[in-house]
Each structure stands twice: as C-alpha cells, then as structure tokens.
Subunit: 456 residues, 4 copies
C-alpha cells in the first residue's frame, strides 16, 4: 500500500494519492495532475477513483484532466449540481486494492462537502485514516462564511459533521485535511500536516468548545474572500478546467515586452521584494513568488495577457504553474534576461527603497510627516500596530487607495515586508512617488524591541 | 550562440536547434517537441523559425505542435502541397540573432528537399555549417528510390544537388545531416555524427564517383520500405500530427490485460530478446525496445489497441514515446508487474529457447532436419550465410511464412539474435512449435570462427 | 513543519526526516544519505540530530556520512558500546524547531533499542507520533531471536517495552516503524506503512495476546538470519560505514568481463528471472533486482570483485546502490551491452527453461522421475507444498545442494518463480544440467486450481 | 560514436567527451566530473583516456578525480613537471574504439600546451576534428602573456603552432577549442562555439596577419590576471584537486549567519544586482551569480569561511559548484530564508540605489559634484566613456579605492550595471555612503543616445 501527499505550496493545499495492488485513488487533485499518474505508475498502479471533498474555491481542480488521462471516475458530494462526475451519498463504499473508502457527508464548509474514511481491509473494516477536506484541519476548522446569510446554520452543520461523523471514528484514526497553515480556507491551522482524531479532540482549540461556543467562534472569525474565488466556483462546478499540457512562458526581449505592454499586457513581477525594490518596470505589479497563491487572485485580471518578470526562466516557469492552478491561462511570456536586459535597453525603471524599522520609529518620534500604511488583515492590525499607521488590507487596497492624501510620503508595512511590496507597487501605479517598504516590518519590530508594539 | 543536436535514437534521426540573442531555429523537430522549448528557454530564447528539410517518411513531425506552443513559423520546400506552413525557395534568407539561414533547394531524396546553409553574420555572410537533411549523410547519401519509376532521375538530381549546391559551399563547412547510422533513409552512413564538406568530399565513398557511377550505385542500392512510411507521408503532408501531452501507459493487471487481448488488443513485448525467449505471452509480438524504430512499423497495426509488455513502467513509458513518434497513438496500457505477474496468474506462457551457434553448426554437420531462417536483409544474406539457411526479411516475414514447410524445426538467425526474436515470435503466432533463436547469430559465428562464413 | 519517509525498497526499510523552522532530525538514515540533505535544503533546514533506533543488522547506516556532511550529532541507545555518536537514556529530550523528541528506551529487539516520541510544542508537549524502530510494526513486532540463549528474556522485554512505553502514549499517537512488509526484521508486517497506537492496540494480532502468549508466539516465530547480518552488526557498531560519493559501475565489454571472471570476479545477474532463464553466463548468480535486498546477503561474497549483468546501465547503477547499502563496495563493473553483447562475442551461455505449473502437475501425475525443489521458507513450505517436493531454503541451499541425488531432473519452486531462479542458478553452478524454474510457482498453482494445494 | 560538449558556463570553458564501441576519451575535464561518467555510461562506454591540453589557470581540473573513479589514464604535455599523469610528445597516438587521437605539441599559450587531432579510423586515418585547447579559439587565439619576459617568444611560438600544426591539418577539420566568448584566456573569441580550420583561416582576424603582425597584435593585447590564477597553477600542477562528493551549503538562520560573520566569515551575495541594490548585508560582497567565474577570483579569499546569500537553496547550491571549480572549498553555508529572513530578524541592511543613465547625464550637465567610477577594463574605457568618469578596473578596485576623494558621491558604471554593483559593494565596505549603480550603464547609454558616447 502506498500513500503520498501532493502539495500545492502557495495555496497550502494538500491532495492525496493512496493505493495498492495495482489500483489507486486520488483525493482533490490539483490542476497540473501529471504527478498523480507518475506516482501511481511508480507503484505499478492505475488511478480508478477521484474524489473531490468539495467544490474548491481556491484552485482549479485537476479531476477532469486526470479522469481523461486515466479513465478514472470522478465523485463529489451530491448537494451541488456538478456538470461532470458522479454524486455520492453518505455511507457509499468504494474499493481499490485492499483499501476501502467510505463516504461521509460532512456539510458545513459547503453544503456538499464530504469526508472519506479509509480502511485497510487486510486488517479490519474499521477506518485507520480519514480525508477531511475542509471540515477539520490540524488545529483548526474550515471557514463557514461562504453563505453570509446562512453563516450560523453552516457553522452548526460543521460542528455536527465534526462531532457526529469525524470524532466518532475513534481516536486512533489519522486525519488528512485538504489544507495546512497559510490557507485562506480555514482558521488556526497548524504548521504540522499530520494528526489524529484523538489528538485533535484534545488539542484542537475549536473542538473543545460546546456547539454554541463553536458557532460563536466561527461567526467571529474574519476571513477575506479574494475575487478569484468566484471564478474557481463556477469553473469547478462546470468542470471547465481542462489543461492538457503545462505551458511554458516564452522569453520576450525588452522590445517585445515593451510592445506587449503597449498592447495592454499586465506585468506581474515575481522576483523577491528586494529585487523589485531595487529596480522594476513602472506600472508593474509586485508579486513575490511565495505570495502568488494568496494574493495574485486579488489583483491579476483574467481578461488580459500576463507578462512575467522573473529572476530566470526557471522561476518564470514555476510562476506559470502557480498561476494556472488559479485559472490564469493567459501568460504570454516572460522578460528574457530579467530586469538587467530591461535596464540595458535604456528604458525607465522605478525603485522602491527599503526602510529599516529603526528609521521608521525615528521618523515617527521626530514627528515627520508621513504615513505608515499597514496592509495586513484587520485582525493582525488590531493585535498591534505602529502609532501613526493606517490599515488597508493588501487585497483590497486598489479600492481604497483614493482615500489616501495626495503627495503624502508613505511607508508600507506588513508582517515581513513582502506584502508591503505588493502594496507599494500598487501605490506607485496610482501615482504616489515617495513610497518606501519597511523591510522586516512587524517581525523586525518585534525583534528589535524584544517586545510587541504598543498600540498608538 | 547555442547549438544542440536532439536525437531520436531508434530512428537514427538528428534534429537541431540553433540560436542566440534571444531567438532560435529548429530543424526537423521530432513529434514530442517539448525538448526544443526547454533548450531554447535554458538559453533565454524563443523559437521563431521551424524548418523541415523534407516531408519525412520515417517519423511524425513535431512542427505543428511546436509552432502552436511557441508561435514560430514553419517552412518547407515548395515542391509539395503541404497543408500547413510556408513554402520556401532557393536563396531565401532567414535571420535569428546573428544567425543567417540560406535556403538551398536540394531535390533528389524527394522533390521538395531543401538544405539550409548557416552563417554567423558576426563574422561573415559565408556559411560555417549546412543542415543537409537526407541529401548527404556522414559517409553516405539519401535514398532515391521513393518514386521507383523515376529512380534514375532522382539519383541524378541528388548528385546535382550535392555537387552543385552542397560541395560548392566550401571545404570548411560543417555538415549536419538528418540521420546517422542505422537509418532506413540512406545507405553507408557512418557511426560518427559530425563531418565537413571537405571531409566528405575526400572520404565519402559515394561522392568520389562520377555522375554516372553515382546514379548506377544509387540504382543498385537495396532499400526496404516499411508500410508505416505511407502513413507518415500522408500525415506529415497534411500536418495531422498534433500530440499535445505525451501520454503514459496505464498499468493493467493480468486479468485486465487478458480481457483486453480477448477484445482484440495487440500485444507488443519490448523486453530484451532473452527475456522474451524466457517467457512471453502466446500470440504476442517480440519487439526489443532498441528495434521499435526500425521494425515496429513493419508489424504493428494502426487500427488496434496496443498493450505493452515491458520490464517496468519506465521502459513502458519509453516505448510509448518511441511508438508515438511513428504515429502509434493507441497504446492502451502495459502489463503491471511484467511477465512475473502474468505467470503468477496461472496463465499460459510460451518460451523460445536460445541456441548457440556451436549447436547450430553441429546440427548442420550432423545433417539434422531443420531450417535456419535468416531474417536479415537480402544484402546481408548475400554477403554470407549458413549452408542450409533460407532468407526471409524480418520486415516481410508475415507474407512469406506460409511458404515454410509445416512442422519443420526452425532456427531464426540474424546479425545478433534480436531480429531473430522478432521473427521467432511471428513464427509462433503462425503455429510453428519448434522455434529457436540463434542468440549471437552472425556476430557469434564470426567471433567463434575467427573468420567469415563460407557461403554454402 | 515538514515530514518525509525515505524508503530503502529492497529492504522494506523506512527512515524519516522531520523538521521545521530551519532545523531537521533524521531517524535511521540509509547509507546513501544525500537525499536527507536534499529534503532538508528544500525546506531551508539544516539537519542537527540523527537518531539510530538500534544498531541495524540489515543495512549499513548513513549516520557517519550524514553527520560528516552536515555537522549533525548522532545518538543511539546507551546499552551498546558504539564507537561513535552519543548514548542517550530514557527521558532525554531533544528539540528542533517546535518539534520535541523524547527518548524511550524500548529493549527487546535488541538491548539498546530506543523509540522516539515526537511532540509539536506549538500545540502540546504530549506526543503526536512515535518512531518505533524495530519494536512495533504495522500489524507486527520486531524479531527477538538475535540472542538465541536469551530469546525468552528478549521477547518479554519487547512485550514490556510495547505495553509500558508505546501503548502508554495513547491511542491518538501515529506510529512510524522502521520496516514495512517484506522485512527480515519482524513478522506479520502489513503492506500499509501508517498506523496509530489505537489502531495497533485493536488490530495488531500480536498485541492482543497476554504477556505469556506474546512470548510464546515470539518463540514460535521462525526467522532466517542471512550471514551478512554479522558484518552489518560489526560495521554499524564501529561506524565504519563511510561512503562519500555513490560509485557507478564501469561498463566492461565481454572480453574485459570474461577476463575479470577468470581473475575471480563474482557475477551477479540482476535481470528478471525470465531474462536470466532465457540466457545467462555460466557460473553466474541469478539475483533479480527486487530480490537483492533479501537474498544477495546470503550468497554474495565480500572478498571478491563483483561484476553485474543488468538490462542496461540504469539498472546496473540501481543495483550498485542496493548492494552498497548492504556493504558490498566492490562492484567492479557491469557487462556493457548486456547479454546480447556476450552472445555476439560467441561465448557460451546457459538457459534455465521455465515450466508451467500445469506441466509440473502433469509430470507428477505421470509419475515422471524428477524432483520439485521448493526453496521457500520452512513456514511457507509447511503451509502447503507439492506432493513430491523437497524443501531447501533459498538462502541456505549452497550448504545442502550436495544432499540432492546426482543427475536428477529438478524443478525449482517458490512463491512466484523468482527465488526459484536464484536457486536454479546455484544448482547450475553445482553441475546440475536438467534444471527448470516453475514460473508462477505457488501463486500460479493457487490461481489455476482455484484452491490451495493439498499437502502430498 | 558519441560526442558531447560539457560547459563550465561562468568560465566560458568547454570540455569534451568523445567515444564509441565502449570506450571514451575526455579532454580538459572540469572539477565536478560526475557528468562525464554519466555521459559515458549512457553510451555504454568507459572512460579510458583523459587529456589536459595544458595546465589550466582558470579552473581546477577534474582529471585526478575522474581517473580515480574510472581507472582512466591522464596525459599532458611533457614540458611541465606534473606531479601526476603521463607526459606525451608530438606524434604520440592513442586509440579508443575507432577513434584515433594524435598528439600535437602546440606551445605558445603555455610551453607544454598540446592539441589533439582526432581521426575516425572507420573512414580514414586523416583527422576530422582537432581539440585546440587555448591555442586557437573561434575567432581568436590564446593569450601569450603569462611569462611577461618571454611575451614575444611565446607569441611567436603560438603563431608557429597554429600555422605549422593546426592550419596544416586541412580546411575540412572541425575546431574544438577550450574556451568560448567571455573567457579570460584569450581575445576576440566568438559567441559561436563551432568552427573549422577552413573557416578560421578565412575569418579569424588574427590568423590573416603575418608572423610579425601576429606577434605585434598579441603584444598589444591587454589582459588582466586575477590573483586566483596563481593558485590554480600550483594545484593543477600538483594534482591537488580532489573533490569527491559535491558539497551542498547548509542553511543557516540569521542568528547563526550573524555569529559566523562575527567569527570572520566572508559574505558573498550571489543574487542579482537589483536584489543586492534593494537590500543587502552591510560589509558583504556583491557577486551576481553570472559573474562568479570572472570576478570571484579577484576578491574572494581562500583562507576564510564563505557564507552565501542567494535567492534560494537552488541558487546557493549552484554558487557552491561555481566556487569549487575555482578551488573555493570553504563555503560554510547560506542564509536560510534569504534577505527576507535577515530583515525580519531586525538586523541592519544596506541599499545601493540604482540610477538611470538619464539622471547621470542630467547630473553631469547640471555640473553636480559627483564622480562616475567606470569599473570596466582599460580597453573598454578607452573606447568610450562618460565625461567625468574615472577608470578603476573592478578586479583591482580594492587596491585603488584609497585614491578616491572622501565623501564624494559616487556612481559606479560598467557595461550593464552588474560589475558596477560588485564595485559598489566594495566602496560600501570602504565607508563610502553615497554610492549609486548606473543600472544599464554603457548599454543603456548606447540605447538612449542611439550613438556611442563622445569621449570627454
């Protein structure tokens, strides 16, 4: 019996393949799905079942392609009218080798959410593991705010699903959730990716609450919902996710790149915050590679060609994969020779200087006129922030940028200086000329002060 | 400036990518064309031109996919009505970076054959290299028998193309032909893949002949034309060669494999001759992996699903690639667990014992009643063969197998024992029960005798 | 936090790397240890602790090299005088990032065996997983027969270790043992590689026994101990396991290979049983690649150069790795061109024909004079065997081969026909000429009869 | 027959492997030599001869390791007392398969330089190719200034070697030199890597000169000699180049990295110039990855531990390889999490702002007080430079930095802005606070002006 976790790093997503005796099952495949076939073949196995624990909102599913390439069948919860695959209901059973999968309907995150208990029939028909999708995470639970008007109902349903279906499986059952820390789909998730029902029962803070407390807590959670979720919803429901071959960005020289910009190409710069700060193309969007999964979906348009600025072809190729997982299939190419080529062409470039937290504090103390724009979530901001800071979430800054005073010197601020660069590039797009990024931001502040910041 | 040779091993084919300053040119791309994009990207370059030196007959072109993936333009000789790409004529010039490509019409192998002279304009407009397609090879020349009724005319045209267009380029020009030793597309090709006009002028035996001698020699050449060439012709002319993703064979367990055989699946066994001889599925076709390029096209049908028997998933995956290059897109899967799984399932297997050349000679000497079936080409056979040998070319054996006496013990024989196994498996299909493969065959004979064989 | 299992396939061994926040811990590293460094670097982490759950007997440890390459410290149980690393005692605690490792002394398999409980201090100081070494396996337990005179004592110690130390951790703790199914180091191990304390408590048959029953069961277990264990013991204790670079076998042509055989080189043929049966070098040892981990250690000498026969360079390279894990560092090279080259050189080859179970049964029924040599373990043999079968375990056949009647036709038999080929090649070495391998063996028999065999 | 070029990119070095029929020859192997073994094995061949065309001065040879790993013999010119390998003399002949290597003593670059003519005896004993080492390059010739007092003699010897030995081989011979464009070992080298004797005779500007003109030209060439050449000389002569395993840099967190700096660790920052300019560790040395081969040898010490700052582990690993080729074996580790981790730790960072050529010109025009420090070679500088520019070669800037006026605002300038960043980081080390890098530099100037610069 083989078992592997396949990650979608930027999205903190985990999919799974499990199999034996020549058969395999995949749970929540990512869009670039060749990897599951490779793993299965390495174990001399054929993928026969594909399960989607729910209609995902944060990435495009690879189920359609994977089924097409392998002949496997797709299954999802019955409470949504999927245009493809087969609906399953509570208690349905599937087999693959000695593995047995039992469907558990576990609504709450969404109505049609299912979990999948897994038994090794060579030993017992009782489950040894459960794939929990977005119901229970290690240390957390799935968000329940997708239907704002039904928020309380959804939270209650999730509580019931967890307690009646999942905890009931017994302490010795291993938990395999769909997300790890950093996901937009839940709260309180641990950095650790493995757990058991027994451990979660004891140590998952949410699960130690009563039903009412649980609902209250869920209602209190603050989640952001990037606009691209809408598109994922629709495409995943219709199964319009075909990809086939993973494309590779064409190198474009500065002339070609500049001409494409003229024609409306959107420039996404996936280099590090430091490199972007050093020199970047005016009007471009900073999006350090690690942030693509979380923040590209807030800013990138679906109806424009995308041009990448990356350190090299490898990074550009990786960015293309991260983007297509979110449905961005329109990458036209990447800047050959990176920024150095652009600079050599004599074209203009912009800089966004970094500023050390010491200097920020000094300027505050000196009463200099400038604004700290804190682009973290409201929750992070509320926990602690600099005295003269204004909060504008990095995801929604475009809508609020006009609220800022013109000509004001700005310092962007976040947890580390990265999101701050995403925001800084947007400020530049809107004509702000004196913009600096507090590299290190809240982390640096904590480090240098040896304490958290006093709220102004 | 970068330059790389991309091989299609089994077909002894060489394609080329050359480029610099962000642009690249590909000559005669193979069907699984991702590799050219990878090489170009490694050099920060975009493929802008694709040349086909002629409508290939031995493999499917990757031009259509490569153009689709990169936006490059396709060019071929103007004397065939291609359904795609652009016709070019003698003297036309193309640029890519500092590279300059000059089209030379060099008919003879086919009417629309072109060669491509390459100059590095940073130094000179005179060429430093020439891509000769199937006109001149290292040590040999392209075959001229594709239009039997025009054989003499074609040979004469080839002579003129070589002497007037290619040799005229000057001794210091490097020669990059489309094939190396082992190809079906020419004669006398060297194992070495690099040469110059100067070297060929001196050492290519064919080129030291007069026009008449040359024509005479070409007319005397004996070439076989596998039936699959017909299909390559048609598809390459129409551009119906799209592939997209390279498929991977699904592992099928013995039950599934046997059921598919019942449903008409053709079984191609790509393991070594020794493994096939040790145990194989009755009715299957032996086709050791190294021979796929040369002999699959004689035997494999295009209208049946193909099931592979390979040592492991890796070998099965490689076989799929070799087959799709010849247009076999219908591989259904491969036997999971290889022959061992089949044997464990209790199903029948066949064996084809090897026989040492000593034993063959001994049996001949002892006057035992048996037949040596020599499956080499007529030319190889004529050069030397065993006393009681009958010649039936491995490619056409199916048509002649009924000429063999029933119940006759048979020993198949070739250059090494490999083609002999291809033939032996066919004899088994036709009901011959006492079939042995002379492993080592002519090579072993030469080795043990320390001399060539006296023709009986 | 990242976690990966690293397998030594042929040995059914599992090692682990776990880490986070820039630090990593490795448990029971294999000798070719570069992979741990690669995994750690992929997670921006440095390996700081290496634990050996016990002095391994079935493979050479990579701890010394891994410590040398990374600066990590090595730890093992204190009840053996290791020449390197640091002894640890029950209750000692180590940290790496938020991970906490608690040492549990769990003697029984060996005296100095330890287990390692793992806690994620970001959540709790209570463990979420335990690395159990060779104490408890999924569905089984470690063997306790290494000190025959203390067998009962060891079994009792193991029982106490399991019940008092491991089961006491609680049902929700994940179990990570050092071996999976097929290992020589335990009994009853499941094909599945993951479990929990709770699941094992319920479904591990051994753990449901009383202390006395457990001891009785352990004493009844029949284990073989390949001679190479002795060498692993000694080298692992002294830390004489340095490897450095993983060597690659040099291709040797038939002349060179034959000359080396003359000079005493031992020939190990790692091709499939079918290929070996089809043609092999007289005097060579059949050892299909999958069997190297289990059976090479019975037969291969440590004091002779080893020459490999493999299908190709890739397989030869893999065999070298499998062999060096068992301390065979003297591979001189591999036969270039595989058996085909040997055959072409005119040298002699031998064949071992396969025989179908039908034919074996028919010959038995017809009363033909021949012997079925069943080379499975005594336990397998006792469960069921063919009427005229004699049992000689494949590992110890060399010592007993002289007991066989001369000139007797022999059919080797095992579970699938693979071990039977290992044995058949040994019979050939000892001059038996009429040797056949029942390909499929017991599996085929079961399949064709639809039932198990009646003991004669 | 197979043939492959193996590049050492940063050093513009080309080594070669050529072989067939199971044997292979390597010419001028790089230090990380595993790749030659891999190529040879892919072709079922064993490396039997290793040639060094001369004692290399710009990289450490891999001959010793390669011979150790394969059993091959090493050969070099007889006019230097190598401590290993075998001296060869003009006319000596070696064989490998059908390949024949003829030694040509071709002094000039060094006294013991040899070239290697290569013939394919299957066709002719006359050569088809020649490996020219550092005598003749594509479009250029080797430098002859290593013995300043014998410069004229060396140049004359080179002329004689080229005309009497190399050109004499005939126009149709392919030229394989040891270096391509960008090497420090020659002048005028083309970007193209392939040529022929015939082409060079016609188009290599140097070769169209008379003996006297040639000597004059060579004497006029200006070459820099990085201090690390001395060390390469010595180690390559003694054969003290053993490497074994290619090491991988350990990730170090900011605390560990900072502590190591305290202990004297030298910080080499291999990120792009833009990233370095955005934020870097005070006191570190900028060395964008592409420049390591050319400029690390001017600045990096051999007697200090080296700590890398790279974008990620992959880039750090590549930098380690580039450094070990130049004998830097003391890389201690790399900064885990790159600069972002450093910033988050609250430690200080420095910035080097980029400045556009427009702004430089504007400032010059406005008569602002500042200095353009042009760090290109004297030859580049002489060809054209900005009005107020001072030339200090990037390689030797450390010795001259004290000549600069204190407190003067500085703009570093080169061909593209990259070397300018190497220099800028050195200026920072020496206390200059107002340092900017003219990103794009001379290339940008040329692009924006549409013309070359008037010398001030």
């Amino acid at each position: 019996m083989f078992f592997e976790v396949v990650h979608q790093t930027g999205l903190s997503h985990m999919s799974y393949i499990i199999g034996g005796r020549g058969k395999a099952v995949v749970i929540d495949p990512r869009r670039d799905c060749e990897i599951y076939i490779d793993i299965a073949r390495r174990h001399d196995a054929r993928i026969i079942h594909i399960f989607e624990t729910h209609r995902n909102e944060d990435y495009l599913s690879g189920s359609v392609d994977l089924a097409r390439f392998t002949g496997a069948e797709i299954y999802h919860g019955r409470r949504l009218p999927f245009k493809f695959g087969n609906p399953v209901r509570d208690g349905e059973v599937f087999h693959a080798g000695s593995g047995k999968i039992i469907v558990l309907e576990t609504p709450g995150h969404t109505d049609e959410s299912i979990s999948l208990a897994f038994a090794d029939t060579a030993f017992s028909t009782e489950p040894i593991a459960v794939f929990t999708g977005d119901t229970i995470f290690v240390g957390g639970t799935g968000r329940t705010d997708f239907y704002p008007e039904r928020a309380e109902e959804m939270a209650g349903m999730l509580y019931d699903s967890i307690t009646e279906k999942l905890l009931a499986l017994g302490n010795g059952v291993i938990v395999h959730p769909a997300h790890s820390a950093g996901s937009l789909c839940g709260a309180g998730i641990a950095a650790r990716e493995f757990s058991t029902i027994g451990y979660e029962r004891m140590h998952n803070p949410v699960l130690r609450a009563s039903r009412e407390q649980f609902i209250r807590q869920k209602l209190d959670e603050q989640h952001y919902k990037p606009p691209y979720f809408q598109r994922m919803h629709a495409l995943n429901l219709q199964g319009r996710t075909e990809l086939g071959r993973v494309p590779k960005p064409s190198p474009m020289n500065p002339d070609e790149f500049a001409a494409a910009i003229q024609d409306g190409m959107y420039v996404l710069d996936v280099r590090s915050a430091e490199a972007y700060g050093g020199a970047s193309i005016p009007g471009s969007q900073a999006m350090p590679q690690q942030l693509i999964g979380r923040y590209a979906g807030w800013h990138c348009p679906y109806d424009r060609a995308i041009g990448l600025v990356a350190e090299n072809e490898t990074q550009a190729g990786e960015a293309v994969v991260l983007l297509l997982r979110m449905g961005y299939d329109s990458v036209k190419g990447c800047l050959a020779g990176s920024m150095n080529a652009w600079e050599k062409s004599g074209r203009e470039f912009q800089s966004i200087p970094g500023i050390h937290i010491y200097d920020v504090l000094r300027r505050i103390e000196a009463g200099e006129e400038f604004l700290v724009l804190d682009v973290r979530t409201k929750a992070e901001f509320d926990r602690q922030h600099l005295p003269n800071a204004v909060n504008m979430y990095v995801g929604t800054i475009q809508q609020h940028v006009h609220e800022l005073p013109e000509n004001m010197p700005l310092v962007t601020f976040c947890g580390s200086g990265r999101r701050a660069m995403v925001a800084a590039s947007i400020l530049k797009q809107h004509g702000f000329s004196d913009v600096r990024d507090c590299l290190g931001s809240a982390s640096a502040l904590e480090a240098v002060e040896g304490r958290t910041i006093t709220v102004g």
